[in-house]
Amino acid sequence: MEECAGFKVLPTKVNEKSTAIRHLFLKMHVTREKCPQKPEYQTLFVVGVPEFCNQKILTNAFRCCGKVKSVFFHKEPTPIEPEVISSKYFLPEPVKGFKVAYIVFAHTSGLEKALSMKYTESKPFILSTQASPVTNIVQRWCENYNNSIVDINELQSEINTYMAEYDKTSAERIQVEKETVDDEDEDGWKTVTKKGRNPGFARKEAIKNNILKKESKKRSKKILKNFYRFQIKETKINQLMELRNKFNNDKSKIELLKQSRKFKPF
């Protein structure tokens, strides 16, 4: 395989009958942050994957190199751990358009094999076989549509368990907050929470800004604005300035209109 900027270039075809050659760019997955789901020396990083390549197609296609444990898709290369999706119904939006794939092999040998594949333009790698055909959009749409019609009872029970769990954790949190209201640490510092007799305010940006505004208002009240003669004079001058400014603004507007040749009536 040819190489390009550290990537191996894999010439591929959609299926046997296809004539167009595409290029996939492969590389071993290496990052600073370790990620248990995408283990080093087992994970193949693929860039430029067309949208129609789903998990099934890629798993089947790379079967030739070794057993594929899992395939992750992202829109862009990311170090973030793929989210563990516990729910059957509340799913994240599927990736649209071209994507990057992380193919995790069961053994390191799979990755080695994948990186040393020998395919050429005349004999390219084939993505889709009989076992994993490419579906066109109508088929895909139908599948998604049918999947979106969910079993109500199952959905309800899933929600119930989730909410029960949520209620439990939030109740626990409140409990902890309540209990720690009057706790002092060893240096005698108290953590202020929203509970208790003297609750603290929420740490929100808006609230902080409000407080700062109030402070500055208080400060400005202390300053006399029209006491000295020069101050009175200045306010008058400012009024004139305003008038002039308005005139100048209008003038600049006209200037702009002039530029767009707005004054040619015919």
Binding site: C4, I21, N136, Q156
Partner: protein, 1132 residues
């Protein structure tokens, strides 16, 4: 006030020490507050008092600068005119011309541009001689001519040897003038280097019998000005009283040539007389004008402004109030002390409009003649004028009616326009200046319905049969006025208060000198409908036993019938249509009436004229589907049906008791709920008895075992938003909130199924409800969801809220869209043409293959709304076709780089905000940083909510170009052809400029029956919905899916174009740099391929083969053919 105090303050601060101190403080500040000069103060104060605003004054100044001719041009004109004078008065050789008898003129050599009927005159001679003098008259001589094409009126004075004593009778005067001009034209062409060869006769506002000769100087001057030559006799050649409106100057026997008429009655010929008078009194009125304008800059400016205003109205032809009339009206007002020389130009025009708007020249004409100063028994009285003319404004001589050939309706129209202009000035919420002076108003955008007579023969026939003999003698072949006098009363008496305004426009092109012209080419009538009355199907006449009833019966003949009305009275009535016909038909009742009346009274068949009203609306028809219970028309009834059912469903939801939270509001968001859906859903059954489908829950499943080869009908849900009463019980985490909302859907669906007998199905993100064969889709809006999405926890534990793409989207669809929907729905109720106009606008934009991902639907709707909310200088139309023209105009003429669109519902946007927006836009230099289109509504003061990404400047530029073309083609098509089929051409896009054209299999397009030129084998009649039907497959549109997928993958490389409404091609245009190779980067390899360049550098380039293969891979059966159009891309 402020200015004054500052001026007073000045001396106290004027002390040297004060200034010095300031200088020390800050030189910059000192520069800013330099003391105002007296001149500046005056100007500022004057502006406050004498002009509307700074802006208005500055705009006037700038515009006047643009239109006033430059001094160098004026000098050149004078120089050229001197040359012309010497050439004609001194050098011209007329010895070749012999004296000829008028009865003996050789027609092949000498002809007038008008018909000579009867050809032989009794007596009189003609000889071409030198003129005694040439003089510049009219607007140019008093310095009110306008650039860019200056019109210079020149009068050629002829002496007594040319005009004989008796020449004023029997048309001799006019024939001699025409012959003379023709000879003159020939002579002019002989002179080298003086005039361009194209010498023409022109009419403009002149009568058929007194054309003027238009010549252009050679060279560059010819591009700047043209000279209008006319022949006038020397003053005092005829005494004026010979042309009183009661005097006859044409021999009846001579004209009708009926030989033996036992009772030869010579009718007075006021129109004929006034044509001659026009030449005789010209000088006197000229002096009067000069006297007032000279040395009075403000009056001069005001007249120029009025002239521009009138020119923009675009009705300067025969029969209208002309510039000349308006200038003399200014003189009249001056003489009557309504305006004076201390007024500013703004105050003068305002007063002119004000007084003109109040005038009544139809019954109470005005005169410049001072009846007290001269005692002349021959002076005709005002009643003489009123009995001879429609509109009366007598000049200073007391004999000539300046408004002799002004049509009554056109006078009323201009009067209304004057009132409208004052209204605009007084409207503080708008910048009236561009509306009044800078917007060119096309005639086809001013009215609702138009009638165009193209065939002069038809008109001649009508005048022959129905004309008044007196007028026939007076005006002879000058048919316009005669025809107007026949047609106007008929229109008024038959249409009554269905119309509020009529205006006539007579088209006449200038033509070469040797051709004989008809009096006009087109006679166009504009009708403004009265929206309250125009759609009423039953015309109620007088009570049967009144004498008026007889009159009514004799007018309507067999159409008239007796009817008992709700108030118990039995009246004569005419029924024009069944009360259940579609709104689109009701809008065109006026057409039915006009066609009936023309045929009945004037025997003009509907084929002999073009009636312009609803030509465009035919693209909104649904010809292959018959809905249940109403006539489809342009779809209003279908939308209404949806809205009613939507409200019923809303009511059912609100009536549910014991929900965990009460439903506070049910609001719609689908376009159909604001009458703006081009293809509104129709109530029908979705049960297909031929095929058994699998079901799950309350839904029908799509077949997965076999591929779909025929796209089933598209069922689109009507969407709405539910909002609950606020509650503190909502969880504080996004995931939990979403699950709670889904739980509500489940709960709601169960309750609706059981208690309201409504088939409904909960989904994870919405709930679908079936009723009357419609599918409704509701989502729950919980404001806390937005803030949870916006919530960010900063590293120090501080919580802040920032807009994200997701939160903005949610707010747009759940908050702004419902508000807009109800506002736009209200707009449609106020102006029932709004909805169909939106549909037309959408249909047109989509037909140009620009779909909602390039130009969102709501943007189209808001643009249309901006016209309805602020139509000035037009008025809101009742006809969607005309509304559509306004949309095209808006699209074509808005300068998207420098303007934004204001959609001011209830005038809720403050004036200050608009002006600060203007300043902001003006100060912005870089256009690329902001959305190309800003739609400012009271709910979105920045105007960016809907236009952040699209439309782009590219798309707007293309639409500007297309709309300009479409407007031209459409107007031309309506005026010359008028058929629906011919008009439809603007909805057929050109496919020339696309790189690739994807042709789709029609059968896979669920909207194929709505394509512009759709052809279907049969018409489907819808069946009513069944009880307890399952929810059908919703939203399956394979073509749209294909587009989405292609855009997802290739939007960086190409643009995709498609007609949403049944289009069967997708046009692909690659971005200009698509074939450029770039260095490899992980972020730019999508759809790319490694390419080896000559120097063996490894770069990636666009994989065109894969792109084309992808279309097939994704499209499957949908794609019929991929046409590679751009040959340069596909060389191999």
């Amino acid at each position: 006030m402020v200015v004054e105090t500052v001026a007073m303050m000045e001396p106290s601060t004027g002390g040297d020490s004060g200034i010095k101190r300031k200088k020390k403080q800050n030189t910059d500040v000192n520069k800013r507050i330099k003391p105002p000069t007296a001149e500046e103060l005056n100007k500022l104060r004057e502006t406050e008092n004498m002009f509307l605003s700074n802006m208005f004054r500055l705009q006037i100044d700038e515009m006047l600068k643009e239109v006033k001719p430059k001094q160098t041009t004026l000098d050149k004109i004078n120089e050229w005119f001197d040359k012309l004078t010497t050439a004609l008065v001194q050098d011209m050789d007329t010895s070749n011309y012999k004296k000829e008898l008028l009865s003996n003129v050789n027609i092949s050599q000498m002809s007038a541009p008008f018909h000579l009927k009867p050809q032989n005159n009794n007596d009189g001679t003609f000889r071409f001689t030198k003129p005694c003098s040439l003089k510049i008259v009219g607007s140019h001589s008093i310095g009110i001519s306008l650039m860019p094409l200056i019109k210079v009126d020149v009068s050629i004075q002829m002496d007594k040897t040319f005009f004989h004593k008796k020449d004023y009778t029997d048309e001799k005067y006019f024939r001699k003038k025409a012959f003379y001009l023709q000879c003159l034209a020939k002579e002019l062409m002989k002179i080298p280097d003086l005039v361009e060869n194209e010498i023409q006769f022109s009419y403009e506002s002149h009568s058929y019998y007194s054309p003027v000769l238009v010549i252009k100087p050679t060279g560059s001057l010819g591009k700047k000005c043209s000279f209008y030559l006319r022949v006038v006799p020397e003053s005092n050649i005829y005494s004026l009283h010979k042309f009183s409106p009661t005097i006859n100057n044409i021999d009846c026997q001579w004209y009708f040539n009926n030989g033996v008429d036992n009772n030869p009655k010579n009718y007075p010929t006021p129109y004929y007389n006034s044509l001659i008078l026009q030449d005789l009194i010209m000088e006197e009125n000229e002096i009067l004008l000069k006297e007032i304008i000279d040395g009075n800059q403000n009056i001069q400016d005001a007249i120029i402004l009025l002239k521009i205003w009138l020119t923009q109205k675009n009705i300067g032809e025969y029969g209208n109030i002309t510039n000349y009339i308006l200038s003399l009206y200014v003189v009249y007002l001056f003489k009557n002390h309504k305006i004076n020389k201390f007024m500013s130009s703004y105050q003068i025009i305002r007063n002119v409009w004000l007084y003109f708007g109040k005038s009544d020249w139809l019954n109470d004409g005005i005169t410049l003649f001072n009846y007290e100063s001269k005692i002349d028994i021959k002076i005709p009285s005002m009643s003489d004028f009123h009995s001879s003319f429609q509109v009366v404004f007598v000049d200073s001589s007391g004999y000539f009616n300046i408004c002799a050939n002004v049509f009554k309706s056109n006078y009323i129209y201009i009067k209304n326009e004057c009132n409208f202009a004052v209204e605009m000035l007084d409207n503080s919420n708008m910048n009236s200046f561009p509306c009044l002076f800078l917007t060119k108003v096309s005639f086809l955008q001013q009215f609702d319905h138009y009638i165009n007579f193209k065939d002069i023969k038809v008109i001649r026939n009508v005048v022959d049969q129905h004309g008044d003999k007196k007028l026939k003698l007076d005006l002879r072949d000058d048919l316009a006025l005669q025809f107007q006098q026949i047609i106007e009363p008929i229109l008024i008496s038959s249409l009554g208060d269905r119309i509020s305004e009529i205006c006539f426009k007579v088209f006449q092109k200038p033509d070469d000198i040797m051709t004989i012209q008809e009096p006009f080419t087109d006679f166009l009538i504009g009708l403004k409908l009265n929206s309250q009355r125009a759609n009423i199907v039953v015309e109620r006449g007088p009570t049967a036993n009144l004498p008026e009833a007889k009159e009514f019966r004799s007018f309507w003949k067999e159409k008239s019938q007796l009817r008992r009305f709700k108030d118990g009275e039995v009246c004569e009535a005419v029924v024009w249509a069944d009360s259940k016909v579609s709104v689109s038909k009701k809008r065109c009742l006026t057409r039915d009436i006009v066609q009936y009346v023309f045929l009945d009274k004037l025997s003009i068949s509907s084929k002999q004229f073009i009636y312009i009203a609803d030509q465009a609306e035919s693209v909104l028809h649904n010809p292959f589907i018959v809905p249940i219970g109403f006539e489809y028309g342009t779809g209003e009834a279908a939308s209404l049906c949806c809205i009613d059912t939507f409200n019923e469903v809303g009511k059912s939801i609100r009536s549910l008791e014991g929900l965990p939270l009460t439903v506070n509001s049910v609001q719609g968001i689908s376009p159909v709920l604001r009458y703006a859906d081009v293809i509104p859903p129709l109530s029908r059954t979705h049960v297909d008895n031929k095929k058994k489908r699998k079901t799950k829950g309350n839904c029908i499943l799509t077949p997965t075992d076999e591929e779909i080869k025929i796209a089933p009908g598209l069922v689109e849900p009507i969407e709405g938003v539910l909002q609950f009463a606020s509650s503190g019980k909502w969880p504080n985490e996004l995931k939990a909130v979403r699950r709670m909302i889904t739980a509500f859907y489940i709960n709601l669906a169960a309750r609706l199924n059981n208690e309201c007998n409504l088939t409904s199905q909960p989904f994870v993100n919405h709930i679908d409800i079936m009723k009357n064969g419609f599918v409704f889709r509701f989502r729950i809006y919980y404001p806390g969801e937005v803030s949870l999405i916006k919530k960010e926890v900063m590293s120090d534990g501080m919580i802040r809220y920032r807009d994200t793409v997701e939160s903005l989207n949610l707010e747009r669809t759940m908050v702004q869209l419902p508000t807009l929907t109800s506002s736009l729905h209200g707009l449609h109720v106020q102006y029932p043409s709004y909805g169909p106009t939106c549909c037309l606008a959408k249909r047109w934009i989509r037909s140009q293959l620009i779909d909602s991902s390039h130009f969102p639907d709501i943007c189209v709707e808001l643009l249309v709304a901006s016209y309805y909310l602020q139509p000035e200088p037009f008025k809101v139309t009742t006809q969607p076709t005309i509304g559509f023209f306004h949309f095209l105009r808006k699209l074509a003429l808005t300068d998207w780089f420098r303007e934004f669109v204001i959609i001011n519902f209830n005038n809720d946007i403050q004036k200050d905000h608009i002006s600060s927006m203007e300043c902001f836009i003006a100060s912005q230099q870089d256009y690329s940083s902001r959305p190309a289109m800003l739609l400012v509504t009271p709910y979105d003061l920045d105007g960016t909510a809907w236009t952040k990404e699209v439309p782009t400047f590219t798309i707007l530029a293309r639409l500007m170009h297309l709309s300009r073309k479409a407007l031209d083609v459409a107007e031309e098509s309506l005026l010359t052809n008028g058929t629906v089929d011919h008009f439809k051409q603007i909805f057929r896009p050109s496919l020339d400029e696309y790189d690739i054209i994807i042709r789709l299999r029609n059968i896979m397009n669920p909207l194929r029956h709505m394509a512009i030129d759709a052809q279907m084998a049969k018409i489907y009649t819808l069946e009513p919905p069944e009880e307890k039907e399952k929810i059908p497959i919703i939203g399956l549109n394979p073509v749209q899916e294909l587009l989405n997928v292609l855009r997802d993958s290739y939007s960086e490389n190409a643009l995709f174009f498609h007609d949403t409404y049944g289009g069967n091609v997708i046009g692909v245009v690659f971005k200009p740099d698509v074939l450029k190779t770039t260095d490899f980067k992980v972020t730019n390899v999508n759809g790319q391929k490694l390419q080896k360049s000559s120097n063996n550098r490894r770069q990636v380039g666009f994989n065109l083969d894969a792109f084309i293969e992808d279309i097939n891979v994704y499209g499957g059966f949908i794609v019929k053919e991929i046409e590679k159009c751009n040959k340069s891309l596909f060389v191999n």
